[in-house]
Symmetry: C2
Subunit: 487 residues, 2 copies
């Protein structure tokens, strides 16, 4: 059998910070997370990528079930007349809609939209389910894929014409409960993103210009990628009564009167996989935070022919021990690859911890642990393995977060005037905190001047004293806003 050489044929050929865009594409393709599909803007999610999405979605699903949400499934196709019922929503989405116009050989009498989002179809259904205050709150979630014809450039996982996501839709008897729901959901999203994906976020509101079409307010979590561009991680919308009035969702209250309901919608997509690659990866490939890693530990038995059986056996025992402790672990005992080739492959795939075990280790009753994040190596006695592995994985998780937190902090600046803002955006990127008069004209002028969007009006808006004037028009500032160029 040919033993393949350790010549890094599988590695990434560019430097992350020199050519970030090409690095990202090589990282996700060579690690076999995704592949391009035959239709422009669409991708195939491969098993390794699917498993990351599976872990993220299972974690979120459990939190949603715990907090009283229920799953369902809504039709993919939405008649144009139903999509059109909420006017702003329709005009916002219609440029991106894929339209079904034929079934078999027949032309349809009404065009059907391929789900760009499910507010319209969900609420036309909810209006049949909601009768009395006893039916509320109605808190539903839907795992599906949504389609939006790309109007900007596409980037796999970050912006595609189709994406896997969940979309939550809730109905409440009063405004306060709906507002609390939209906030609670944002905090659940933050928990997943910060504690599991190890990416810190800035939480806050979208501006009128940037909010979801049809919402009263949109809450957002924004993060920074390694190239200094911002990425919207997840959003939660307080819809007020806009949709309940368009879709006639009314309930009979305790006062025996009919009232329009209050609603929210919110979503989180596979974009988060793209984000964690961008934030944590390095020139060797991915670095997946342990909590969302499909493989948390890879065991590589290192052997020459005559030692193979007992070394493989020892590797197998270690695997069983760690699996029984609850870790996701594999052994790579393929004969046709060198150890070096294997190291490269699992580093490329971002497995957080590797265990090397060879003749020397067996004789000393120890193994070698290699961290993926900083490549540190330690020898550990087999007796301490479980506790050492547990602790190391926790430390890796923490260090990735700390590193991402440092990246975010490094990418937060402030500006007092448009020239300063423009200069920071051009030279350094990242979020620039500024005072803002709340006039959309200033928001548009800033976009025109330096390509930066108003990403988020942070919840924590006490800094207003520091920014008394609008960065653009110099009039009194009413909000602190974070501007950035974004994906």
């Amino acid at each position: 059998m040919t033993v393949l050489d350790n010549t890094k044929p599988i590695g990434i050929s560019v430097n992350k910070f020199e050519n970030f865009s090409e690095w990202y594409i090589q990282a996700i393709l060579k690690s076999e997370l995704v592949d391009y599909a035959p239709v422009k803007g669409f991708i195939v999610l491969r098993p390794y990528g699917y498993r990351i999405w599976g872990i993220i979605s299972k974690t979120l699903d459990e939190r949603l079930i715990q907090t009283g949400h229920e799953n369902g499934f809504l039709p993919l196709l939405i008649p144009e007349s139903i999509l059109a019922r909420e006017k702003k929503h329709f005009s916002g989405f219609t440029p991106e809609v894929y339209w079904v116009t034929e079934a078999g050989d027949e032309r349809l009498s009404e065009k059907l939209a391929v789900r760009p989002t499910s507010e319209a179809i969900a609420y036309s259904t909810f209006s049949n389910w909601v009768r009395s205050y006893r039916d509320l709150p109605l808190k539903m979630n839907f795992w599906n894929s949504a389609l939006r014809a790309d109007i900007k450039g596409t980037k796999p996982l970050i912006r595609n014409s189709e994406f896997l996501w969940q979309e939550g839709h809730t109905v409440h008897t009063n405004e306060e409960e709906a507002r609390n729901e939209s906030q609670d959901i944002l905090e659940i999203y933050r928990e997943i993103i910060e504690q599991h994906l190890a990416i810190p976020c800035i939480g806050g509101y979208k501006s009128e210009k940037e909010k979801f079409v049809g919402a009263n307010e949109t809450l957002t979590l924004e993060s920074i990628m390694s190239d200094g561009k911002a990425l919207q991680m997840a959003t939660s919308h307080n819809l007020g009564q806009n949709f309940s009035k368009s879709f006639n969702i009314k309930y009979l209250g305790k006062d025996d009167q009919e009232h329009f309901a209050w609603q929210t919608s919110w979503g989180l997509s596979w974009r988060l996989i793209g984000a964690l690659i961008m934030v944590h990866g390095d020139d060797r490939g991915l670095i997946i935070p342990p909590r969302v890693a499909p493989i948390q530990i890879v065991i590589v038995p290192i052997f020459k022919d005559k030692d193979a059986p007992r070394i493989k056996k020892a590797a197998c025992e270690i695997k069983t021990t760690l699996e029984n402790t609850g870790f996701r672990v594999i052994t790579d005992d393929r004969n046709e690859y060198t150890s070096g080739w294997k190291f490269n492959e699992w580093e490329l795939k971002g497995v957080p911890l590797r265990i090397n075990i060879g003749k020397r280790e067996i004789e000393s009753g120890s193994v070698e642990l290699v961290r993926r994040d900083n490549m540190d190596k330690t020898h550990v006695s087999c007796d301490d393995l479980r506790s050492q592995v547990t602790e190391l994985l926790e430390r890796i998780q923490e260090r990735l977060f700390d590193q991402a937190k440092a990246l975010l902090n490094k990418n937060i600046s402030s500006a007092a005037n448009l020239d300063e803002l423009k200069s920071i955006i051009d030279k350094k990127g990242g979020f620039v905190f500024c005072g803002w008069c709340q006039d959309q004209k200033c928001e548009l002028r800033i976009k025109e001047a330096c390509g930066a969007d108003l990403r988020v009006i942070p919840f924590d808006n006490q800094d207003l004293l520091k920014y008394p004037n609008c960065v653009c028009c110099k009039k009194k500032a009413f909000r602190v806003a974070a501007f950035a160029q974004a994906y």
Copy 2:
């Protein structure tokens, strides 16, 4: 607070055996499994239905992972040119395809099919992944929804224009391995359907006329519904090299030569939920087999005002005990409904076991257990509760299977000539076993004479001695075939 009266407003108003079709629709709508969607032929899966699908799909997914399959996600939209690459497959599906022809305001240069099934898009992708025998077998599975414009009448869950399913697609180096895969999968499907859904199946082959378009052979599991009509439960296709040649899936063998690969595809859908309702339900509503029941046990505390606190507390303790044993259990302690109303609701929803606990039970340290399948009641000491519940649920599961088995047996007949066949189909329905010459003309004549399809050529074909002649043309029979009218 108004206490609602026990007047069965929620019950089913028709008899299962007098008006099966109406009974089915009322059963699935009133139990809140599904709802109609605004587009004809489409449905909404409500939380209770989604949870059944969740349990079925989790059970199957674990078996598929155990047997070396991996999940992924394929694009929803398939260019016409790719769908057209396998000619038979294309001509078979094209009358049912929903076509996307526009994105936003723009007309597309090529029509895109909304996924009717993913052979074409999967195999155009696999052809990039498969290089050498080392890459094989490739065993993938996809959980998604497929769309087929209804060409026959629709029936919720049984035949819809969109359905949730899984579709498996595998690639092998040789014919035997592919054939084994298609057989192994059928046996996994049988295990799920017989052991979990408690519905016995007849396994066998489809005829040339009925097989999957593009396959060499289709393996099927067929069951009988309570009205004597057959239902195809799941199919597994041995694709031979038909698709690998159309999509150019070649591998470099150990012999250093290029070979076309061998393939299979297979699927199982939410139709199974419809089947279990049809087979097990009764005039009170659904009866869900314990293994797939979202709620296996409902505890109903029965109280007047002053006893409420301690009876509710006892119910809560029982719930904790049973949950810790691993059961899916809820307590219905709503004040605004009478006990009788609650009994009706949970019977309608088919919860397999109910626990009643009132003042009398608390005083005697016991509870009342009520089986949903035969409505038998027993009193059980709280000390024996866990073991009694475990045993009862197992017995219910077994009895539902035995009952369905009796239904199947009752619906198996045999016929020696066309008049006999026609008479049985007209009067009694069910499967009619006959000798068959293997000529498609006879299959078509039978369909014309009595509306029965050739559902399955059973694996167990040793009965051929009993059926020496074709039921239609009287020539020598080469196969035993089971004919039936079907959904």
